[in-house]
């Protein structure tokens, strides 16, 4: 039943940062995504969420590690296979203002991918574009407009239509809602859920908005400084956190309920994320962690399955749970 559509093994992506330094944007990350599932990826800015998404979709070449899509190692793909991988894996970008070409009409933007992957006649193509616009909740009048004539929410719908145009199976959603208003965010999330049900899509949903991630994802992975620190089903991760960082991150979400908010206990997180060029030795979270010991400085914890389906990378998760 649950078949892995994508598997990532020990993925690393380093960038040269000058002066013989390297920036480890993604450091030894492993996870898998089942068909028809949504994996949420959360973390603070600069933790490598976006780089991870881009490496998975082959926009970046990984420094080391493998990405296996549909049973095939992506780095070995060539010719036809590579083309079909690029058709199957699509991306929705964060900023709907800069990700649409201002000089192209909506029909051209949505239809561009079809020209590469399908040999449609002009009529077929026009019909497909109309259908796609209808699927994302826009009328065909929009086909001949330009991106600047649309609002942020409408543009993001175009971004989704463009991704759907080549009939993908896997979509990397890179912060698709963070540039939008609250009421529009709900519309886009509803649309993504609806499309997933209709076409059996698989999503990698990257966001820093934890409450939205919880809503759309089956499982959630938490990243900190390039590493995955916790991975579990979204029900579990929001009810009981194993990693101290996850606990701090979740307790920082403000809730729209003044009384609950006042009585709630905060796990305050002191300071800011250290520079990824020169992270602390051992566990990268140790300088902000209240449970850190000498062991944490010496040895980096590995992501391990501590309970069925629950992964965490912490030496002291058991003791930290009791506090």
């Amino acid at each position: 039943m649950s078949e892995k559509i994508l598997e990532v093994k020990n993925l690393c992506k380093y960038f040269p940062a000058g002066k013989k330094q390297t920036l480890k944007a993604v450091d030894n990350v492993s996870f898998y995504i089942n068909r028809g599932e949504t994996l949420g990826l959360v973390g603070e800015s600069g933790c490598g969420k976006t780089t991870c998404g881009r490496t998975v979709s082959h926009l970046y070449t990984p420094t080391s590690g493998t990405v296996i899509f549909d049973g095939k190692d992506v780095s070995t793909l060539k010719g036809k296979d590579l083309l079909s991988f690029k058709k199957d894996v699509q991306m929705i970008f964060q900023d709907p203002y800069s990700s649409l070409d201002p000089r192209m009409t909506i029909a051209e933007i949505v239809g561009e991918g079809m020209d590469v992957h399908f040999k449609y006649s002009t009529e077929e193509k026009n019909q497909k574009v109309t259908e796609l616009l209808a699927r994302v909740g826009l009328t065909e009048d929009y086909a001949n407009r330009f991106a600047h004539e649309l609002s942020g929410g409408q543009r993001q719908r175009i971004g989704i239509a463009r991704a759907l145009a080549v009939e993908p199976r896997f979509i990397v959603c890179d912060e698709p809602i963070s540039a939008l208003d609250v009421s529009i965010q709900a519309q886009i999330v509803n649309l993504l859920i609806k499309l997933q049900k209709e076409s059996d899509l698989t999503y990698l949903f990257i966001s820093h908005d934890l409450s939205m991630v919880r809503h759309i994802s089956d499982r959630v992975g938490v990243m900190y400084l390039g590493s995955l620190v916790e991975l579990a089903s979204s029900e579990e991760i929001f009810s009981r956190q194993l990693h101290p960082y996850t606990r701090a991150l979740l307790s920082a979400i403000p809730t729209a309920d003044p009384e609950a908010e006042r009585s709630r206990k905060r796990v305050a997180l002191e300071g800011e994320v250290p520079s990824p060029i020169n992270p602390p030795s051992g566990c990268k979270f140790r300088n902000r962690c209240i449970h850190a010991t000498e062991l944490c400085a010496k040895e980096a914890p590995v992501l391990t399955e501590v309970e069925p389906g629950r992964f965490t990378a912490c030496h002291h998760w058991r003791e930290a749970m009791d506090v």
């Binding site: 999330v189 859920i193 409450s211 809503h215 929001f238 403000p254 809730t255 729209a256 905060r266 305050a268």
Partner: protein, 340 residues
């Protein structure tokens, strides 16, 4: 208690090629010392324009504050101030922090210089004194190593640090009112929590009144004393945090409360989303501005704009549903209680 700021019938319009955009349509409110008032609403509802109009930061002739608008600061009419008085008022009495700490700091000046600037101008300090004071202010906003940080440029700091520097600049002259325009929107949740905690602490320590402009109801919930819900340039509902979150009466407030995903809700269930878009502010608006999107819309709503009705000393709401002849509808809170 004496009001520090009294705003009556504030109207702001923008002159564009398409015509006059009436961005703020008759907003009135008062602010007491040490109090936090929040403006909440979607983009384009006039929150920021209202905030800027309080400091007269809008540029004529494109933006016009209409005749009859009144902003009184400690009894003095801000609209009648001349250039000199205005200069003393801005920064000294009322100051502002902006949404984006990346673009609102000057990249070519050190952070210290930017704080010193207003100290030298408003308080007449010498450079040395101003520097000392700048270091103290940086310490106040909890920047580690203020002696060193004072000589750093904005690009050497992270987003959260820059927002702290912005707060330091705003607070350097001990203003009585601080206007915070979406101070945490560009920041991560963990940093957002730190900045909100800092603002709360400074409010209590310095007794500064804060006007918080935001679209995030979560931020408002644990910080604001009073909340003002704005829609299409008008205040549709106002009240204490408790009144807005637990006893609100306006359908737009309900819609806003409803569109926040709840941490206890079911996964992948459809989220509530408010259909339609806010009205075009170019058009004259005789009816209730929310009528076109309201699920309880009645014929009267399309004809006349409801006046604000007082429900308690602090709670006011402009909606025809409050009229004695209107049908009784279940409030958002009642429906929520039923679901449970």
């Amino acid at each position: 208690m004496d009001k520090i700021l009294e705003v009556k019938d504030l109207r702001v319009s923008f002159n564009t090629y398409a015509g006059e955009v009436k961005a703020v349509r008759g907003v009135s409110f008062e602010l007491s010392p040490g109090e936090t008032l929040a403006f909440v609403g979607e983009s384009g509802c006039g929150k920021t324009v209202t905030a800027k109009a309080l400091m007269r930061l809008l540029q004529p002739p494109f933006a016009v504050i209409k005749e009859g608008s009144s902003v009184r600061f400690e009894g003095t009419e801000v609209m009648d101030m001349d250039k000199k008085a205005l200069r003393a008022y801005r920064g000294n009495d009322v100051s502002m922090i902006f949404q984006d700490p990346m673009t609102s700091l000057n990249p070519t000046m050190t952070c210290g210089k930017q704080i010193m600037e207003s100290l030298i101008l408003h308080k007449g300090l010498t450079k040395e004194q101003a520097r000392e004071e700048a270091i103290e202010t940086l310490r106040l906003v909890k920047i580690p190593d203020p002696e060193k940080r004072v000589d750093e440029y904005p690009h050497q700091m992270s987003g959260g640090m820059r927002q702290r520097v912005m707060i330091a600049i705003a607070l350097s002259c001990q203003p009585k009112v601080l206007i915070a325009d979406e101070p945490t929107t560009a920041l991560d949740v963990t940093i957002q929590a730190q900045i909100i905690d800092l603002l709360r602490e400074l409010r209590d320590k310095l007794n500064v009144a804060i006007i918080l402009v935001t679209h995030d109801l979560g931020v408002v919930a644990n910080f604001a004393d009073r909340i003002q819900v704005m829609y299409a340039g008008q205040v549709v509902e106002r009240g204490t945090a408790h009144e807005i979150f637990y006893e609100s009466r306006h359908p737009y407030t309900w819609a806003l409360l409803n569109s926040v995903p709840k941490l206890g809700s079911e996964i992948k269930q459809e989220l509530y989303s408010l259909g339609g878009t806010p009205p075009d502010l170019l058009l004259p608006l005789e009816c209730c501005p929310f009528a076109a999107r309201c699920e309880y819309c009645m014929p009267i709503c399309r004809e006349k704009n409801p006046a604000e009705e007082k429900l308690s000393a602090t709670h006011g709401c402009a909606c025809w549903l409050l009229h004695p002849n209107a049908p009784k509808v279940k409030t958002f809170q009642e429906r929520l209680a039923e679901q449970k």
